[in-house]
């Protein structure tokens, strides 16, 4: 009998036409750690804060930026476990595409599939929306691309974007600093400066993560040593 209490969708419309659960999900994203992405002329960079709850946590074991395919990477703001589920589903979809067409999935198609998954969880019974926004960075035949996907399932292509705690300051900073013909290295520097802007405490190679993809179409996460080098250039 009590099953019926869980058989409705949590995302039912409010009288004002909003889906309250999605609004709350966006709040969860907004209180998550800042992450940002910048699309350069020859690549894309994504970066995030990696603030750990205690100094006892082994920071090398935690990786917030992950690969969806060898040429598409993703970073999130919000609830980490939710992003793991999405990454897992997207990886599977990318492989299914490859199995069917023997061709690597274009970035727009993977973004659309991921967004579809997120939308399904806003219109099904007994589930809640994902508490993450994703920044998906990839390089395919259409060039470098950066997409943001929200808990509602809507997705946008960005030249540069930020999400999480410091979103408004970061976006203002990016609006001022972004140029169309930026090279990948410039984009990394700009990303670091943007992160530094709203950083509480001292920024170092241990409490941020950076991932980038260039014309070689291989997404990779930078090691702490490489991050330290870039930070030194920015100081």
């Amino acid at each position: 009998m009590s099953d019926s209490q869980y058989s409705f969708s949590l995302t039912t419309f409010s009288p004002s036409g909003k889906l309250v659960q999605i609004e709350h999900a966006l709040m969860a994203v907004g209180s998550g750690q800042t992450s940002l992405g910048i699309k350069a002329a020859n690549g894309v960079v994504i970066a995030t804060e990696k603030k750990l709850p205690s100094i006892l946590v082994d920071e090398a074991s935690i990786q917030k930026i992950q690969l969806m395919t060898p040429n598409i990477g993703v970073v999130y703001s919000g609830m980490g476990p939710d992003s793991r589920v999405l990454v897992r589903k997207s990886r599977k979809q990318a492989q299914q595409y490859y199995r069917l067409y023997k061709e690597t999935i274009p970035v727009t198609q993977l973004v659309r599939e991921t967004a579809t998954v997120m939308q399904e969880f806003t219109q099904s019974g007994g589930v809640r929306p994902f508490g993450v926004s994703l920044l998906i960075a990839g390089f395919d035949d259409s060039g470098p691309q950066l997409y943001q996907v929200d808990p509602s399932g809507s997705y946008f292509s960005w030249k540069a974007s930020a999400m999480g705690k410091n979103v408004s300051n970061a976006k203002t900073f990016l609006e001022k600093r972004y140029t169309e013909d930026m090279e990948l290295d410039d984009a990394v520097h700009t990303a670091l400066l943007t992160l530094k802007e709203g950083f509480e405490g001292q920024i170092s190679s241990k409490n941020i993560e950076i991932g980038l993809i260039g014309t070689n179409r291989k997404f990779r996460v930078l090691s702490p040593a490489e991050i330290a080098d870039y930070l030194a250039e920015v100081e």
Binding site: R99, Y101, K102, E103, P106, Q109, R112
Partner: protein, 204 residues
């Protein structure tokens, strides 16, 4: 009689210099009786990809409809045409879905891929792809076709010469197969244009 020879068919595709040609016979039979002499076996998927389907005609038609359906959805979603290699992988996957109750067809796929490089391949009824650099054949006349193509083929033929060669190979081979013939259809595809021609051979 094998189910693949029920309707009779002959299909061949050849690679030339920056072009390809795909040809078929025109007979549709029901075992020994000829039912149609203008049957089309080669279908256009888009300007640069053509597929010929030999074997059981009903399966060929259904398979073609399914493939056009998939390709149109692909075009709408991805806002581009399918490359021939991609299309061949799709056909292979669709055929294998029916592994234990297959479509009795042997497709021949020909297209211009990246940089307008000609691409041809054939596969069996279960989707085993066979890529080739020179020519591929399929149908009840396939054995004669192998022989004719092997002797007549030359690499890097210009479009006109390619057309002559593929026509001669087709007409010679179907004469040795009672279930195919009644002329031929040839599609000659270059990066800029597509020529479709009908051949008149022995009408028997």
């Amino acid at each position: 009689m094998s189910i693949f020879e029920y309707n009779g068919s002959a299909l061949v595709a050849m690679v030339g210099k920056n072009c390809f040609a795909i040809a078929s016979d025109r007979r549709l039979g029901v075992q020994l009786q000829t039912v149609a002499t203008d049957f089309r076996r080669i279908y256009r998927i888009h300007d640069k990809v053509y597929i010929g389907l030999s074997g059981l005609a009903t399966d060929a038609q259904t398979l073609y409809q399914r493939l056009v359906f998939r390709h149109k959805l692909y075009q709408l979603r991805e806002e581009r045409d399918m490359k021939p290699e991609t299309f061949a992988s799709l056909v292979s996957a669709i055929l294998y879905e029916k592994r234990f109750g297959p479509y009795f067809c042997q497709p021949v796929i020909a297209g211009l891929g990246g940089d307008d490089q000609p691409f041809i391949c054939t596969m069996d009824c279960l989707g085993a792809k066979e890529l080739a650099k020179d020519f591929v054949v399929s149908g009840s006349a396939s054995e004669s076709l192998y022989g004719a193509c092997e002797s007549m083929y030359k690499p890097d033929m210009e479009p006109e010469e390619l057309f002559e060669n593929i026509s001669q190979a087709l007409l010679a081979s179907v004469d040795r197969d009672c279930l195919s013939g009644w002329g031929g259809h040839v599609f000659l595809v270059t990066p800029t244009e597509v020529q479709e021609r009908t051949l008149k051979g022995r009408m028997d």
